[in-house]
Subunit: 405 residues, 3 copies
């Protein structure tokens, strides 16, 4: 209590008397060339690191924004010959709305005119093969199977052997699917990718399209060297950039990422803020049982009030457009903070040098004597041993004086 | 001017003469056990915090990447008995393309054979009930209503009362919708989730599928204990993990988040980088008027050149696959920075101890006298009072010597 | 070797003898009013910056989470008169599943009853005009064209001139498309946006819907002043907020971002955590050749086993719902770190003052003499010059004592 009271009393006093005094640490100047060189070189090292790495390379004087608002609009174009019919994008592109994920069909396996009914189960399904109805008892839906068993054993379509009858969409895909040829012409399909990006913090809005007059956009295709401002990409170009074989993609399908990277420095003219494109296959391709990309959908028809469907298993390329954005602009606060940090972190020099000084330099006793001033309850005469002994402890406190980062 | 000139002159001189000197603060060694113990314990505390929390727990020696590139491919599988028909995934899964959002229908309310025409408004609509055409005047489209009023008052389908006639898709859903039973078997549907993740900074590509030979993927289902490498999930399992009642979901529908968490330490073998899955219902379930998940879509038919549609209101489960990724790898720069920070922040010890030393320890006048060396314009003889008075001010400057973080 | 051994020996000794000593820097107290004032004012400046900017404005005492898990469910409502038919949302909204991207059709260009066949190429296509079959030789699919040339030259539909015949979906869109009027009533369509957000770190789940009894949600529409808790937005309101002319949107279509911003301080009652909505057009509108938003899709029919399609080019509004979340909560660790940082960064004061002290204050020789204590191999008598010369070097080391941030 008493101490606290004293503390308070002094505290008040201080503010009215000692308040305007200025304290500065007392310093011992060591005229030692070796030490000086060590000190200055460490000093140089730290400074260089900060000026070069932190400020120049890391742009620490900028405040940055890494999660801009982005909008992507995609549209595919192209026509391809399929058998004796001519197909256009409406047939191949899904979803049609043109968001940041768009897929085009490259190969189809079509099962025409499926309808609810009963037909023979596929022979590959476990326990599907049968010789008599007895083999097909039990009406549970086996997870492997394609439908619910009726319990009868019927001829397998136009073959000689028999399988269990099931209730499902008939005929079953495995038997009736028509495997269409791959759409090799699709290599010339183009995808138009419009990307607009907005950095709220800096209030900058940028698009990846350079306004040009005329029908520029309707003719150009992107090429890193010759035509970097045209946001229209050939599927062939994309596959090539992603180091994929297009014919292989036509067979298995695949997911390819289209990366749009905005790296902007708004200390320069925003018009210099231009995206770069990169492409990489996103689904692992190792020979997995289920590699590639495919999906099923159906078209529905009605004939004399019966519902029919055409089931389509589609293999294709799915493009995932992924936008990365990073923008920086000079700002005073990070600049100050980093500069001060830089200046203080040279403290690590004193740390190192003190240690050297007090340990390895000859006659460090002399230095210690000058540096350290012992005070103890009974104020003993200072002896060399004492000093040397304390020389290490001193480093601990030097830490607390010197280094900062 | 003169001062500045002097300053410059000295500055230059310094660089040629004083440049190689090394300065180190003079230190007073206090041989006081109490203080020493306090100092060392605070010291220990700070050190422990850094070593344990910052380095071990927070892995401050690593540079990290938190926003990897991720690709998700989903596919549902399963067949279910609906009335006397057998339905497969093509009927139930939307969208079909298998992106990171996939929904399956669990219950349908189907309105067959709607076509453009005129029919009776639903009786629940305000002012729809009528006795004569006069009640139905005005052809504006009321926002509540289902269509545009013709102004006539007609019998409500096969009932006795009358409502206003409207022009719309007839018959109206409220009257004609057929409520199908819920698809309870859907609890055994499975969703196959293929996720590939790429950390650009570390150039590591990982997938959630462990290549296994044979038809492993076609049979397994995920189970945290027994089968953690199989990315095929039963809807029942998902609902259970999300603490939802599946039957309830079948009635109202719901949105469930599938969280794939990659937490990788690339200082170890990347093959140790394996995802964990978690599931949580995303839409608030409190008894809101519009809880759950449902949507409407239509199938279109044409009969003798008239367009018909079958309107389907679908209740179902929507799975949002959300991928979180965090990877760390040793890097020299954060390590240095954090170590230096650690070392310097022990400065807080001096801060505390100085304050104690100069306030609460007996004979602090002695210490003060040793610590402080007053210099003033007229260099007065140093008096005890002066010293004690300044003892507090000193703390302020100690701050500027000592602590750092 | 010997030195290192010595170092070790001393190190050990230290730990057993000097370990409990406490070191504190010796300080020179300068009784100089000018300096004191400068020191205190810089001191005040730095402190203010920290207390006001860092703690109050930046809430540095909180740990924050910026990437919450979010779930969006959207549904559109409304009916509109199109010619003499009444259309509802099922006709206009795509995709139907109600995710975070939803689009509504505002204007359609419909091409009825297209079917595979041969018909005349559009005259605008290069080299399409012809006088004899010779002009149409070559069966390659020109990228500009709509299909594959048969090589014959036929009359252009019911016109006098001739173009090359092509195999494609006939008739071609450019010729047969029926341009429907824009859906101006759509200005009264409403979109219901349900957003649930989850902050894993703080275990807080919030929704943008305030549970209200009765049919509140079925009637209200959002208005910032009068009805901020109703998540139902009129398209007209959205367009207005985005500063867009709705009629113009009806013609060209457009992509509008709906930004839901959650800015939560969980030191207060979580129920105070309420989202704000903002709207902005996302696609650049500068008169680009391909401005606006449109897409094509088809409805398929079958008539006596021939497949027909109705091709629809849809202009509309696409709403991208983008959720931003930021939450903060008091946490001890950032608080300590920032407080210590604050305290230490006042060191910049000493830095400045020392420099002033040793350069511009009169009689700085006196101060220097007191501050610096030279020690060199041959311990020369300290001369004034020496001192002044070193005065600058001292600043470098002051850096390492003083500043910290």
């Amino acid at each position: 209590i008493c101490e606290i009271y004293m503390g308070l009393r002094e505290f008040v006093k201080t503010f009215f008397l000692g308040f305007w005094d200025y304290e500065t640490p007392k310093v011992m100047v060591v005229k030692n060339r070796t030490l000086g060189i060590i000190y200055r070189s460490v000093y140089l090292l730290v400074t260089t690191y900060f000026i070069w790495y932190v400020f120049i390379s890391q742009k620490a004087y900028q405040e940055s924004e890494t999660r801009p608002e982005s909008s992507v609009y995609t549209r595919m174009k192209g026509t391809a010959l399929l058998g004796d019919t001519m197909q256009d994008m409406v047939e191949y592109v899904r979803p049609t709305e043109g968001g940041d994920v768009i897929s085009t069909i490259l190969r189809r396996e079509v099962t025409y005119n499926q309808r609810q009914g009963v037909c023979a189960e596929h022979y590959s399904v476990p326990h599907a093969n049968c010789t008599s109805d007895l083999d097909c008892t039990g009406i549970e839906v086996s997870f492997e199977g394609h439908g619910q068993r009726t319990g009868r054993c019927i001829p397998y379509y136009n073959y000689t052997f028999k399988t269990c009858e099931i209730r499902t969409w008939c005929p079953i895909e495995e038997f009736a699917a028509v495997r269409e040829p791959a759409l090799e012409e699709a290599i010339n399909f183009t995808v138009y990718i419009k990307n607009t990006i907005h950095f709220p913090k800096f209030k900058v809005l940028r698009g990846n399209i350079k306004p040009k007059r005329g029908k520029y956009l309707s003719r150009c295709t992107y090429n890193e060297e010759t035509d970097p401002y045209c946001p229209i990409f050939r599927l062939g170009y994309i596959a090539e950039q992603a180091r994929e074989n297009f014919s292989e993609l036509c067979q298995t399908g695949g997911v390819i990422g289209v990366f749009i990277n905005w790296n902007c420095d708004f200390d320069m003219d925003p018009s210099k803020c231009i995206p770069t494109y990169s492409f990489r296959r996103l689904d692992v391709r190792k020979n997995l049982p289920s590699s590639g990309y495919n999906y099923r959908f159906a078209k529905y028809y009605s004939r004399n009030d019966k519902e029919f469907r055409t089931l389509i298993k589609a293999y294709g390329i799915r493009l995932d457009v992924i936008v990365h954005g990073h923008a920086g602009k000079f700002s005073i606060i990070p600049t100050i903070i980093n500069m001060v940090t830089a200046m203080t972190s040279v403290g690590i020099c004193s740390l190192i040098c003190d240690w050297i000084l007090l340990t390895f330099i000859d006659k460090n006793e002399v230095y210690s004597e000058k540096k350290f001033d012992e005070v103890s309850e009974e104020s003993p005469p200072v002896t060399l041993t004492d000093i040397t002994l304390t020389s290490y402890g001193s480093i601990h406190s030097d830490l607390s004086e010197g280094v900062a980062l």
